[in-house]
């Protein structure tokens, strides 16, 4: 089972996916599929951004002593 990708990893992947469209590797016959993949990844990133929460832990150490 593959490990869940971090937001940064997803952002890097999106950069690669969109970069393909500007590269010499671009092929029209593959573009529709690649575009669908980029859209799905973008939506996934937006979902992650909406759901991201910080974890706030107040340390139990007593710094007054």
């Amino acid at each position: 089972m593959s490990e869940k990708k971090s937001l940064n990893e997803k952002m890097e992947e999106l950069d690669k996916k969109t970069g393909w469209f500007y590269s010499n590797d671009f092929k029209l016959e593959e573009s529709a599929e690649k575009y669908k993949e980029a859209i799905a990844l973008a939506n996934d990133i937006k979902k992650d951004l909406n759901e991201l929460k910080n974890e706030i832990e107040v340390l139990s150490e007593d710094f007054s002593k």
Binding site: M11, F21, S31, A38, A42, K53, I56
Partner: protein, 383 residues
């Protein structure tokens, strides 16, 4: 520093109803015990006079008001703000009587009070630490871009801390924030913050430490000008960002930190990207990709159509050429049409032209038969 109180000798035990009897040693010990019990942690406010340091180790000064003066004593290692005669300070300590019977106040902590003294202490310490290179720009480290572990030193009940958490949560997520709750005001604050810095440096994996405190008076914020605290910030192995007070407030802690934010909220902004901006940039990337695909499709279609366009253009040019040629021929033919000549008033003469012969004359609308009477040479008009 406490003096051991020896039990009084049997002969010195006071008899009920009689006045207590002491030796100098037991009297001083008893007085110190009483003073320590009654005035432990007492704060004494006054103006510094006769400030001096002996043997580089012991600090002596008098603290006075309009009427009285108290001799104060402390170790140089406990002196964390620069002193000068005339400065108004508050000291914490214990009043004591020395073994020579002299009254003195043993100081454990000092804080300047009043804007003038705070500013004076600030400037003196700033110069000292600056000369040591503590605030040198080349010592500053950049904060990591993708923070997942963050240490915060603040008072969890303070408004500044609440502002920081609110902005942090609104802007970004996925950060494990460890919060060291400390005082951020008063004489105990510097040591507590130093302990928290030590904790994060020795026992945590945080990538950045944020020291936060909301706005306050110069006196409230003066703990951030504590020499030991400033040194601890400068020595931190983990990069430190400060968000102390407001934009206009500058502390020595700010100068020693790697990054200074103007407020706790600003610290949250400097530590994290804005999730709405990131979402927007994702949408822009997709939108641009879509435009690129359309452009590339148009480009490919253009390249496919190009040979046919060329042929079409050539055929069109040929047609136009022949069309023009034909038009010119028609014009010539039209110009040569006899009907057109007759319409202009000319006539066509046919038959043998000799005196007495009959000829036919054709005009635009008539056929005429005529007899030739005479023939003369025509005098031509010179062109």
């Amino acid at each position: 520093m406490t003096t051991e109180i020896k039990p009084p000798a049997k002969a010195d035990i006071p008899i009920p109803g009689e006045s207590p009897r002491f030796t100098p040693t037991t009297l001083i010990a008893a007085m110190n015990q009483t003073l320590e019990y009654a005035y432990e942690g007492a704060l004494l406010v006054g103006e510094v006079a006769s400030y001096k340091v002996n043997q580089g180790k012991w600090v002596f000064f008098d603290l006075k008001d309009e009427e009285s003066s108290v001799s104060c004593f402390m170790s140089i290692y406990q002196l964390r703000v620069p002193l000068e005669d005339g400065m108004k300070i508050v000291v914490r300590g214990v009043p004591k009587v020395t073994k020579w019977g002299k009254f003195s106040f043993t100081v454990s902590a000092i804080k300047p009070v009043g804007d003038g003294s705070i500013k004076k202490a600030f400037e003196l310490l700033k110069k000292k630490l600056s000369d040591e290179g503590l605030f040198a720009p080349e010592k500053k480290r950049e904060l990591p871009k993708d923070i997942t572990k963050l240490g915060v030193i603040s008072s969890t009940g303070a408004a500044g801390y609440a502002d920081f958490v609110k902005i942090l949560n609104a802007r970004w997520g996925g950060i494990h924030v460890q919060v060291a709750h400390t005082q951020v005001q008063g004489m105990d604050a510097p040591d507590q913050i130093i302990r928290a810095l030590k904790y994060f440096n020795e026992h945590s994996e945080v990538q950045v430490i944020a020291i936060l405190r909301g706005g306050g008076s110069a006196d409230d914020l003066s703990c951030f000008n504590d020499e030991q605290l400033v040194r601890a910030i400068a020595a931190s192995k983990i990069p430190v960002i400060t968000g102390i007070g407001h934009e206009v407030d500058e502390s020595l802690a700010d100068l020693a930190a790697d990054v200074r934010a103007s407020t706790p909220s600003n610290a949250a902004e400097m530590l994290t990207p804005d999730r709405e901006s990131v979402k927007y940039s994702v949408e822009i990337a997709i939108s641009r990709t879509k435009s690129t695909i359309i452009y590339k499709i148009d480009d490919i279609l253009g390249r496919v159509d190009e040979p046919f366009d060329k042929i079409r253009r050539q055929i069109k040019q040929k047609i136009e050429f022949y069309h023009n040629m034909l038009f010119q021929k028609v014009k010539i033919l039209e110009a040569l049409n006899p009907e057109k000549v007759l319409r202009q008033g000319y006539a066509i003469l046919s038959g043998k032209v000799s005196p007495g012969s009959v000829v036919n004359i054709t005009t635009f609308d008539k056929e005429i038969t005529a007899e030739v009477k005479e023939i003369h040479e025509r005098k031509k008009v010179t062109e």
